[in-house]
Amino acid sequence: MSKSLPERATCELSLTVNGKRMTLHAHAMERLLDVLRHALGLTGTKEGCGEGECGSCSILMDGMLVNSCLIPALQADGADITTIEGLASDCHLAVLQQTFLECGASQCGICTPGMILAAVHLLRKNPQPTLEEIREGLSGNLCRCTGYMQIVEAVAEAGRRGVAT
């Protein structure tokens, strides 16, 4: 917490991040994206456009896919948050992480964390999506490298393996 800033602009937040309960201080209007990256060091969540167009900063908040660049910190008070860092357990990748690797679904990698979180959100609602449903589920996440085919294939493959992450 910075001492030079006005007291009224800071607030205490209780969050559960990747299963860990924590209390931290942040400015109420600080973007959740910045809280995750700077205060918590969770730099797996990327900033692309910063205006909700590209999906790079996608996370799950109370199970819902959201763009963390558009969430003021105060609105995340009490929330249960999952970032890309919360998917693997010990040295075991989540199924989607594994299929992204196998299908070559990641090139430069900036979109990958958001893509995977969007895919997690989709598979939890719809464990065996059609290709069209996959495209719709990922439609808010932009990738400038892959042309999307490998990404769609990675999600379809995770669906075939039948384990909702």
Binding site: A9, A28, R31, G52, Q75
Partner: protein
Amino acid sequence: MRAHPAEYELVAPRTLPAVLTLLAQEPGSWLPIAGGTDVMVQYSAGKLPARKLVSIWNLPELRRIEIFPDEIQIGAGCTFADLRKDKTVNQEFQLVSAAAGWTGGIANQNRGTLGGNIVNASPAADSLPALLVYDAELLLVSARGERRLPYASFHIGYRKTRLAPDELVRAICLKRRFSEYYAQARKVGARKAQAISKVCLAALGRVTNGVVEDMRLAVGSVAPVPLRLAETERVVKGKRIDAALVQLAKKTVAGEVRPIDDIRSTARYRAAVAGNLVAEFLGKLAAGGLNA
């Protein structure tokens, strides 16, 4: 220049009355923020004039859909994802659920609200033409009480509404009398998700023995406000759908729309597409389009 969060105040009262009290104390100085899909974009770009914000995200009083015998009342804080999931909205107000499905992507649908779309008052908002053709009414609430206003008279100009500085939209009321209409929603844009429409159409029609019994048309992105095509509706009502009527409808649409050139499209393209969408709708009606 990017905004510095320390220069902004954000509070989150737990109830609707607490929010209304705050708005009443200093009318106009608190900007309500729901899912943030518009406000946070302006904020991040350093273009948000307001310095004091009040969160109305997830207030239970605004986040429910109430079903009455003659109408449904959609809480203004319902997200586009909420609208897509609701059974009554899907069955009786397909133009609303269709527009909800192509507003932003999934993440924005999980946060963006119908009330936010209304007060943001963009001429390009996909949900607003649907509200026009369903004759939606708004319940506006303040510490002074509640009033009811047709949506058509609420949205008065480019990003201008009749919302008072101490008011919130509480609910959107839709009369349950359109389930027998053939409904068609169309969006023409660079892509379905995320991209803002070049033109969008919400249309309702009823045909008996090939004759247009009723027709309700509204178009987005062709005027400073979402536009009801009243004159086009008038010229087709009571007429048999044939090639001449379709031509007349297209011509009338061209005379009603007031599109502009901007980064997304040109006035000429928009006027042509609006006419074509209406022609396409008439064609489907003539082909026996009736909701099963």
